[in-house]
């Protein structure tokens, strides 16, 4: 009986998880294209002449994303043999791109975002050190500059 539940969870994780991931990637790509005109750079100083900047404000975007049951099993297996944990790579990639997009979307009227920083934090870790919910938060933040036309 336990085995059946386990297999069901695995199958659910596999199908629902890969479906959700594909859909998320499609949405990310579409929105990234739409926001191409708003560059986000990690530089602190950009070549903008003094007096051309109309306003500066801080913007941020965040996302909390968790991995599905199937991939978690896969990663646990990987832990035995070591090597590249591919299933977690997409998780981090999705979370970072999503938070960058959210930051850009909250600064839609700006011309450039400078000094962008991306931070990652694990949340939902219980005090015993065992991770009950394996999810992580990524935050992207920067300063949006609006230029004089």
């Amino acid at each position: 009986m336990d085995l059946i539940i386990f297999l069901m969870l695995l199958a659910l994780g596999f199908f629902a998880g890969s479906y959700a991931e594909k859909r998320h990637y499609r949405s990310i790509e579409r929105r990234e294209k739409a926001l191409l005109r708003l560059p986000a750079v990690t530089l602190k100083k950009v070549d903008i002449p003094q007096g051309k900047v109309r306003s500066a404000r801080m913007v941020h975007g965040s996302a909390v994303i968790s991995v599905d049951y199937f991939k978690r099993m896969l990663a646990a297996l990987r832990n035995i043999f070591g090597g590249k944990v591919k299933s977690y790579e997409t998780l981090l990639d999705r979370a970072r791109r999503e938070s960058l997009l959210r930051m850009k979307e909250s600064a839609a009227d700006a011309d450039i975002i400078v000094n962008v920083r991306i931070e990652t934090a694990t949340i939902g870790r219980s005090s015993r050190g065992k991770q009950r919910i394996s999810c992580l938060e990524t935050v992207a933040y920067g300063t949006a500059l609006t230029l004089e036309k």
């Binding site: 003094q50 404000r57 909390v64 219980s126 938060e137 300063t143």
Partner: protein, 214 residues
Amino acid sequence: MNMQPKHFRVIFNGEVADGYDPAEVREKLAGLLKKDAATIERLFSGREVVVAARVNAAAGEKYRRAFAAAGAVCRVEPVNAPDAAPPEAGPPQPPEGASAFPSTPQDGGSMIVTNIESVPGKTIVAHYGLVSGSTIRAKHLGRDIMASLKNLVGGELKGYTELLRESRRQATERMIEQARQLGANAIINVRFSTSSVAQGAAELYAYGTAVSVR
């Protein structure tokens, strides 16, 4: 040292920003300047009208922002000679000090917050030191249960995203409040950090340097 012009005048020539309906802008300006329709109509005559003849830099900037928010484009230019302000066009005089303009709570009122080491286009005149704000949030049970269900299929945990965004906003607000008490009008070099202090609770921390800019 370069002398900064002390006084500015605000000039409006009826220009409406792209994508705004002129009628709507008129209405907004009427509310903003607290003037009747006839006075507002004069502003849109196409000629240059001086909205405020002598204001300081901060008030000038406030005018510019308030006009931009209403969808109108005004020009703020320095008045060099003390007697250069032309009082010929009897302009509608809004209340002095521009305190009538509502501050926008989203960007912390008039506080400028950046995470670079300066405020572009402005010079720092005084430093007030470190300001910080923090908040510790625990997630509630309902969200936790939903999250563990969502955890099976993977994907975004919207409840957590919302929670963390809300807490980050609160931490920022506390930081801004602290800077305001010091008399600063900008916070530069802001950093965020997250740490989990206890089971299921996370601390959101925002810190930066409070400065005064002109």
